[in-house]
């Protein structure tokens, strides 16, 4: 079969701190006059000597923990950033969805933003015009087309943005975790659309933490770890292995602190998280219908207000629900707030192990530019035991009996 992407010895080196806010001329001048030289240990390799081949029509998932180099790989392949060493050959037109809604301007209307965003993704004016009706009917936003997007809720915003992206017709599609946004039903629709895309015979590279999505969409998986390929091959086999190692490495403990490796080069980040029950006792196992309390401690320097998001995943990597201080509660924290309490529940999850992911963001949500400062992929695990809400005391287990408990009654009404 024909080759779509060929990668040979690809490496990318970053200066530590280079991705942090700009330097000032003053710092540079001081450095210059002091004669400070750049030392080798000031660099980190986010990608080191990565080689692989992807055939035309293959759908390949890229997995790995945070900082493994997944996004860097996509950025190099989409030519956003240059590799330091190595090369890649890409055959065909490339579309990259590293984020949805790139270039959306809050003052412009939905209609105007569809055109602008489409052009940025590389669609021609004719192409956008041709697909315009399809895009708006997919987004289900006909009514708000002429409203400036600054009046949109974040859900509407994502809906419109994804609809444009979903209609991008390129030979190769590079997708970064863009599905982790929006409401569940729309996510499903997007996954469906993604499935359609993959059936059309296009080559897709898909980065995700959602093992469920990876398994259902991809036949092949590349597992990256610390910038190198750890494994490459059958998606079912590798994702299972990945999950096993994941749960071993991150066993259950009620206090978690961040690895030095993970916060390297970050100015403001999550340092620590603790989990309690509602009476303040440290606990990692909870019964059905109990409350869960998290105390999160960010650390470092930040020059503006920040907000946080938490997400809960099941062991298949499917996001069950999320909470957000800004989007849901309009809460932005002052830079000196260094301890935050999150109360969740009472839970209605079935018996099983769940994972909490934490995100640190800055910027006003209305502007659409929500800058991710830090993601803590495996902030905490907790277990739900003893989920027996019904009178028979039957234990509802994840995944056998589903994920959530919902009250129900069943009775005969006619004989």
């Amino acid at each position: 079969m024909e080759i779509a992407i060929k990668v040979e010895g690809l490496s990318k080196k970053y200066r530590i701190g280079e991705r942090l806010p700009y330097k000032t001329l003053r710092e540079e001048l001081i450095k210059f006059f002091k004669g400070e030289k750049k030392k080798e240990d000031e660099y980190i390799w986010t990608l080191k000597n990565v080689s692989f081949e992807i055939k035309k029509g293959e759908v390949v998932g890229i997995i790995g923990s945070n900082g493994a180099g997944k996004t860097t790989l996509l950025k190099i392949l989409s030519r956003v950033t240059e590799p330091t060493e190595g090369y890649a050959e890409v055959y065909g037109r490339v579309g990259s969805l590293l984020e949805v809604g790139i270039g959306f301007h809050p003052e412009l209307t939905g209609r105007e933003n569809i055109y602008l965003n489409g052009a940025m993704l590389g669609m021609s004016k004719k192409e956008i015009g041709r697909k315009f009706d399809e895009i708006i009917s997919f987004s289900e936003m006909e009514k708000f087309l002429d409203t400036p997007v600054k009046y949109y809720s974040s859900g509407m915003y994502v809906r419109l943005a994804f609809s444009v992206a979903a209609h991008l017709e390129t030979d190769i599609l590079l997708v970064d975790e863009v599905l982790a946004v929006g409401d569940i039903s729309f996510q499903k629709k997007c996954l469906g659309k993604m499935g359609d895309i993959t059936k059309e015979g296009r080559t897709v590279l898909f980065v995700s933490h959602n093992m469920g999505a990876i398994r259902s969409l991809c036949e092949k998986v590349i597992w990256l770890e610390k910038g190198k390929i750890k494994k490459i091959g059958n998606s079912e086999k590798i994702t299972t292995e990945y999950e096993e190692i994941y749960t071993q490495k991150y066993g259950i403990s009620s206090i978690r602190e961040r690895d030095k490796e993970e916060i390297k080069g970050k100015k403001f980040y999550f340092k620590k998280v603790e989990i309690f029950d509602e009476n303040g006792n440290s606990r990692v196992t909870f019964k059905y219908n109990e409350k869960i309390v998290l105390v999160v401690e960010p650390e470092g320097e930040i020059d503006e207000k920040y907000h946080i998001v938490f997400r809960i995943y099941d062991k298949h990597g499917i996001m069950l629900f999320s909470g957000a201080s800004a989007e849901l509660h309009n809460k932005y924290f002052e830079p000196d707030v260094k301890k935050i309490k999150i109360e969740i529940g009472p839970t209605n999850l079935t018996t099983g192990i769940y994972r909490i992911q934490l995100l640190l963001r800055k910027g006003k949500i209305q502007s659409g530019a929500r800058d991710e400062i830090d993601i803590w992929e495996n902030a905490m695990n907790f277990e739900i035991t003893d989920c027996r809400p019904f009178e028979t005391n039957w234990e509802l287990q994840n995944p056998r009996d589903g994920i959530f408990v919902m009250n129900n009654k069943i009775y005969g009404i006619e004989r």
């Binding site: 890649a88 050959e89 055959y91 590293l98 003052e107």
Partner: protein, 272 residues
């Protein structure tokens, strides 16, 4: 099928002008966006394009023309200064806007690929609309003062092009530097002010002593403004040598700027 090779680029790589052509529709949309966004939520809207230079002209006429009696080479001072002011407004406004253009689009730069040079370029182009509108007012002035344009008028598009290239060239350096050092932002106001006084806007270049004219011509805006007054108002060119020198400087700035930008552009996504 299209084949793209991705590898570390050499220091003085190819200019890749083909790329700019391929992304011409994006350039169109960027210009369109700049214009749309600029006047949303303003009361006067596009009227600001006229009001700004008009008010400046009134103040200049009062203080420099009437009180200080600055010579304007036998051209009514209001028209004389307004001609300089509209081209200066275009230059300074588009330059300020273009300098911020890359930093303003950092969210885009770190997420998709396109020739970054389109960002300052679109800022420079979109401001032409303001210029054209204020230019119509100039035509009214010419009618009012009964100044008949000469055959030189055919050179007007050429001088306008030179003005565009000047603003674009300077913005190539400043917008790229602004990515690395946000000090540029603070230097801008100062730079624009100094540059204003070093350009023949409120005064005529004929007041510059003969022996300094060569030095004076180092300022590319001298050539631009002189050229405008020459082809629109029929003002005599103070020194043809100074003028050619000015245009020569612009060309050097332009070519240097393109290479400078090209060289800086590849690490924008990493440092921004």
């Amino acid at each position: 099928m299209e084949k793209i090779i991705i590898k570390p680029s050499s220091k003085w790589g190819k200019l890749n002008l083909k790329d700019i052509f391929e992304f011409r529709e994006l350039l169109f949309f960027l210009v369109w966006k700049d214009i749309k966004v600029k006047y949303k939520q303003t009361i006067f809207g596009i009227g600001w394009a006229i009001l700004q230079p008009l008010f400046m002209m009134i103040i200049f006429t009062l203080f420099f023309g009437k009180l200080a009696k600055i010579p304007s080479d036998n051209i009514p001072y209001p028209v004389f200064s307004y001609t300089g002011l509209i081209i200066w407004s275009y230059f300074s406004n588009s330059l300020l806007f273009a300098t911020e253009s890359i930093v303003k689009h950092q969210n885009v730069i770190t997420k998709i690929y396109f020739p970054k040079i389109l960002l300052p370029l679109s800022s420079i182009i979109s401001h032409l609309l303001d210029f054209i509108i204020s230019f119509f007012v100039l035509i009214l002035f010419l009618l009012f003062y009964k100044i008949n344009p000469s055959i030189n008028l055919i050179y007007f598009p050429l001088f306008l092009l030179i003005a565009v290239i000047t603003a674009f060239s300077v913005s190539l350096y400043l917008s790229a530097l602004n990515v690395y050092y946000r000090d540029v932002r603070y230097i801008m106001n100062f730079l624009i002010q100094v540059w204003f006084f070093l350009s023949p806007i409120a005064y005529s270049s004929s007041i510059v002593p003969e022996r300094y004219r060569f030095l004076y011509g180092l300022n590319p805006m001298v050539g631009v403004i002189e050229g405008f007054r020459w082809c629109l108002l029929g003002k005599e060119i103070t020194s043809i040598k100074m003028m050619y020198f000015s245009i020569f400087i612009i060309l050097i700035l332009f070519i240097g700027g393109i290479y400078f930008f090209k060289n800086m552009e590849k690490s924008f996504a990493d440092v921004i």
